[in-house]
């Protein structure tokens, strides 16, 4: 599979969760990639964790935060 196709699969998973109203609540990076946790309050459900392997997906998930997505969550956790 091309690098772009691998990234695209991971991006679709991220975007799909966001589309369903999930918020990113944690990003932990280690030797195996980035574990990203998502939580949804309405309707409430179990947290979802994605293990992102591609560099572009790890970039995408933070680019979403930089570009304003769920800034509320970020500002809240700073304060």
């Amino acid at each position: 599979m091309s690098a772009f196709a691998e990234f695209d699969q991971e991006r679709q998973r991220i975007d799909s969760l966001i589309g369903q109203g999930y918020t990113i609540t944690g990003i932990y990076e280690d030797l195996d990639g980035a574990r990203v946790t998502f939580i949804r309050s309405e309707p409430a459900g179990e947290p979802v964790e994605l293990l992102l392997l591609t560099a572009d997906a790890r970039k995408h998930v933070t680019a979403l935060l930089v570009s304003g997505f769920r800034m509320v969550a970020v500002v809240e956790s700073y304060s």
Binding site: A3, F4, Y28, G68
Partner: protein
């Protein structure tokens, strides 16, 4: 025509082109001919206690048909008595009062030795002093040159001793044979340096003769490490100049040295923060008259840019040189191959296939002609294909608009820490 004159830490020079302290500045005869050719200044071959130089001193690295891509020497400082040099400096200055003569000095790291040489040299009238803390061989074994230049406290102390008696500006010449050149630069400034110059030569062994098994160069079958300079060292010198230029604690004028051989090199060093430059190897290779082309080229360039003075170049690129951690990760370039300029050598395909991201496809176009095409979504924009491509204009690196706000590694780390509620990520500088 633009004004090429510079004021380097109070030292006036008709242009920024100076000869570095080296064989071309060994005698009055040479320096006077250099001034006639157009050089604005000269740093005299380093003066100090008597030395004896070896026979067989130089070697060069020729690479891919380019002679003297790099130059290696095991020469020490001047082997002529101080009085002879001083007399010739005096005569040269008398003939060329508007040209710059800097005396390069190196003595043992003792206060009285520095005082003595500074007083004797300044008494005959020089425009400034350059302290040679950079020579990597011969003198270093005696605690001079790079040996003292590698010890920041000794650089500070010796500069301060010189400043106690010097009446002309003091330039400290730095050795590149050190982990972080800004540490030494800062110590020179703390010692009172009015300016710094860099780089001296880089520790080197030019080669080993695979037939005789002797080192290159060798003195009767024995070799010793030398100092490397010439075009090959330019990127190293430029980065060291840039590091010093952007360090606020350094903050003194810089004389850029290392691999300069064209007017374009001069512009690059000035944009990166040099107020003036010095040249050695290019003159050893091509003679004093290379300065004519440098002056012409610089003049045309400044006119083309609409600049009235060469000093307007100084430091313009420094703010564009930052830390890796502050670069925009969302900036994206991709390679694009222009069929009309491509000669179908396949070098880009091989390079991308073997050493990058396997994204240049070999296709056949509608007319049945073999063509190469980049799969842009897989291209990481590494530049390798355009670097190896031998045909001008065959590959363009094109910036794509990602539509994303800029995001650096450091910003990203802060965002992640914010989300996680902790500051766990290290920033990258």
């Amino acid at each position: 025509m633009a004004d090429l004159s510079i004021d380097f830490a109070g030292i006036k020079s008709p242009n920024p082109f100076w000869l570095a302290s080296a064989p071309p500045t060994n005698t009055g005869y040479q320096v006077q001919r250099a001034f006639e050719a157009g050089w604005g200044g000269a740093v005299w071959k380093t003066l100090g206690e008597p030395v004896i130089n070896t026979s067989a001193r130089f070697a060069a690295v020729h690479f891919g048909g380019q002679r003297v891509a790099g130059f290696n020497n095991i020469e020490l400082i001047t082997d002529r008595p101080l009085e002879v040099n001083l007399k010739e400096i005096y005569e040269t200055k008398r003939r060329f009062p508007d040209h710059t003569i800097i005396a390069s000095l190196m003595v043992e790291p003792k206060r009285e030795k520095w005082h003595e040489i500074v007083k004797r040299v300044e008494a005959i009238g020089v425009d400034g002093l350059e302290l040679n803390f950079g020579c990597p061989h011969g003198m270093a074994e005696r605690g001079m040159g790079a040996a003292s230049g590698q010890q920041p406290d000794l650089v500070l102390a010796q500069t301060a001793w010189v400043k106690e008696v010097a009446t002309t500006p003091v330039i400290v010449k730095l050795t590149p044979n050190i982990t972080d050149i800004t540490v030494v630069a800062r110590h020179a400034v703390k010692g009172g340096a009015d300016a710094i110059s860099l780089i001296n030569t880089i520790n080197s062994l030019a080669g080993v003769d695979i037939h005789s098994w002797n080192t290159i160069p060798n003195v009767g079958g024995q070799g010793a490490h030398g100092g490397y300079c010439g075009p090959a060292v330019k990127p190293i010198a430029l980065s060291m100049v840039a590091e010093c230029a952007r360090d606020r604690e350094v903050g003194v004028p810089i004389s850029g040295i290392g691999g300069i051989s064209t007017w374009q090199d001069v512009v690059e060093f000035m944009l990166m923060g040099s107020t003036g430059i010095q040249v050695c190897t290019a003159v050893m290779h091509h003679g004093f008259r290379i300065v004519e082309e440098m002056i012409d080229g610089l003049n045309h360039y400044l006119d083309g840019k609409g600049l009235a003075s060469v000093t307007e170049l100084i430091g313009q690129s420094v703010p564009r040189y930052s830390n890796w951690g502050d670069l925009d990760l969302n900036y994206k370039v991709v390679a694009r191959i222009n069929e009309e300029n491509c000669i179908n050598c396949n070098k880009c395909h091989i390079a991308c296939e073997d050493a990058s991201h396997q994204c240049i496809d070999m296709l056949t176009n509608a007319e049945g002609k073999a063509i190469l095409q980049v799969r842009e979504e897989d291209c990481v924009g590494c530049n390798l294909c355009s670097i190896v491509c031998p045909a001008d204009g065959a590959i363009d690196m094109v910036a794509l608009d990602s539509g994303l706000a800029p995001m650096s590694w450091n910003q990203r780390s802060r965002i992640i820490s914010g989300v996680n509620g902790s500051y766990s990520e290290a920033e990258v500088v």
